[in-house]
């Protein structure tokens, strides 16, 4: 069971005291960046009023996510935040799907990646809140509905980062552990493709969508 031993190294660096750079995660993240940029360039290549397939795909994705942001944030703010929402969703989707290719692994399997994305969403939401409401109204929120609720509100806000990042991390890691063990036990026959389809494509898509939606909702809660 050598593979299980290797898993422990993937989990532990978060608690190590040395500065640990997980080279494979960084490489995979850059790979996803590269794929996204290539996809973007292809979608833009020879733009036309009659879209070619890749352009149509790009327009479809962007317009879907744009509408989603507009529903939650309203027309004015959607202009500002929709590009970020599109980028976040595409990054997460490609990251979660990356694991179905042999020898590649999902960057989202590492807690550092998801925690970083969670922090981005958190600071963005609070920045948006301060910007639209002003600092006074923003800080007053913490003393709602009664002043002694302040510590609870504070814990609630911080818990959002923990829950959003652990959820993505836990789902992706759990799926990959199951795939690894089942592949080992069945000698890579029959079952793994179905597991890849379920955990990689299905769970990966749902979790990418949930993460993106929650980030949008956190922003909209702060703005309103």
């Amino acid at each position: 069971m050598g593979e299980i031993g290797r898993l422990s190294q993937l989990i532990i660096p978060f608690f190590g005291h040395d500065i640990t750079i997980n080279l494979k995660v960084v490489a995979m993240t850059w790979l996803v960046f590269g794929l996204l940029i290539v996809l973007g360039l292809f979608a833009r290549y020879k733009r036309n009023i009659f879209p070619r397939p890749v352009q149509a795909l790009g327009e479809l994705i962007v317009s879907l996510l744009y509408d989603l942001t507009e529903d939650a944030l309203g027309k004015e703010l959607a202009k500002k935040y929709a590009p970020l929402v599109c980028a976040l969703f595409m990054f997460l989707l490609l990251s979660n799907w990356l694991g179905i290719i042999p020898h590649l692994e999902e960057p989202t399997r590492d807690l550092n990646t998801t925690f970083g994305l969670g922090l981005i969403g958190f600071f963005l939401a609070h920045y948006a809140g301060i910007k639209t409401k002003g600092f006074k109204a923003y800080s007053k929120e913490y003393f709602q509905p009664i002043f002694f609720m302040m510590p609870l509100n504070l814990i609630g806000e911080l818990a959002k980062i923990v829950s959003i990042s652990f959820r993505l991390f836990g789902n992706i890691l759990g799926g990959s552990i199951i795939i690894l063990v089942v592949s080992y036990l069945t000698l890579n026959l029959v079952l793994p493709p179905f597991l890849y389809a379920f955990f990689g494509l299905f769970v990966g898509t749902i979790q990418a969508f949930v993460f993106t939606m929650l980030t949008v909702v956190y922003i909209s809660v702060q703005v309103k």
Binding site: Q144, K160, V162, G170, N171, Q207, V221
Partner: protein, 324 residues
């Protein structure tokens, strides 16, 4: 006792794995059954869209299954784990990990069946709101998995962190207590989150145009309902990472075990109660969108009051850890 250390570790790991998967199978199965029952009700009400309802039911059940899948992951790890420097503390940690994941999967599994069922039923009432219902169902049931994920994270930490250097006598109780604290506290929060998510699906089916306020209120309600499980997580972290001096008294380990049990059991009620408050608020927002802020204020105050019992448990746990 006459057992070698390796044997005791194996016993603990196997029984921990059995507990994790056995208890972890309860919740998701019950939740999925509820989803299927509601789907049948929905089909008999509106047989024309039985295909859509069936698809929605399968997706809802697949998401509700994740709590059990987490338990499966922990069980598999426990069955194959072999520590490099075996010590008796590993045995306690494995037992704690099994208890943590087993209990932690119950609430989220039952809870996640709620949004699935209500979304199927809502589909039969309001077929044109299908995409909103499915989206809301997915978000709601994914968020009510959070307590189970906390349990999985604690279980993974118990399995993979090396506790070898710590003093055996009180630390074994601290590790088992850490598992119990997060695991038991996750039951209430998971179930409560499911109640809120189910109510939001029902509300959207009733008034599709209220979807934005309903989803937002659902997420806020679920976040507050998750606070007891976060208290449980906090106590677990303290129990795992505080180093305890060696002691030969029986009192110290019992106090630490008691701290874990106190926080865990004390977190169940507030989690369910907060979920009920959120359920009520979300359900009535759908019928009365213009009074969202009043409903939200009352929900938050009600949740704060029902949460006070979880805070009592946390205080007692802290006293047991730091004073006794």
């Amino acid at each position: 006792m006459g057992f070698e250390v390796e044997t005791i570790i194996k016993i603990a790991a196997y029984s921990g794995g059995g507990i994790a998967m056995g208890l972890g199978a309860i919740g998701a199965a019950a939740g999925q059954g509820y989803t299927a029952a509601k789907a049948n009700l929905a089909v008999s009400r509106n047989p024309k869209i039985s295909g859509d309802i069936f698809k929605n039911m399968l997706v809802g059940q697949a998401v509700a299954e994740s709590a059990s899948i987490f338990a499966l992951v922990i069980t598999i790890l426990l069955l194959f784990v072999s520590p490099p420097n075996p010590s008796l503390l590993d045995a306690a940690a494995y037992l704690g990990a099994g208890l943590c994941m087993g209990f932690g999967a119950i609430g989220s599994g039952i809870g996640a069946g709620n949004p699935g069922g209500e979304a199927c039923f809502g589909l039969s009432r309001q077929p044109q709101a299908g995409s909103q219902l499915t989206t809301n169902m997915l978000i709601g049931s994914a968020v009510c998995q959070t307590p189970a994920i906390f349990a999985m994270v604690v279980a993974l930490m118990l399995i993979f962190i090396k506790f070898g250097g710590a003093a055996l006598t009180p630390t074994w109780a601290a590790l088992v207590g850490a598992g119990l604290s997060t695991g038991l506290a996750a039951i209430g929060s998971g179930y409560g989150g499911g109640l809120a998510a189910g109510a939001s699906c029902e509300g959207i089916a009733r008034t599709p145009q209220s979807v934005t306020s309903v989803t937002t209120l659902m997420l806020i309600g679920q976040a507050v309902a998750q606070t007891p499980s976060i208290f449980g997580l906090l106590i677990s972290f303290i129990l795992m990472f505080k180093s305890f001096p060696e002691s030969s008294l029986l009192m110290t380990p019992m106090a630490l075990l008691g701290a874990g049990l106190c926080m865990g059991l004390g977190g169940i009620g507030p989690g369910i109660g907060n979920g009920m408050a959120a359920e009520g608020a979300v359900r009535w927002v759908a019928r009365n969108v213009e009074h969202t802020s009043d409903l939200m204020r009352i929900m938050l105050v009600g949740q704060a009051v029902s949460q006070s019992t979880a805070i009592y448990s946390m205080v007692i746990s802290l006293v047991l850890i730091f004073v006794v």
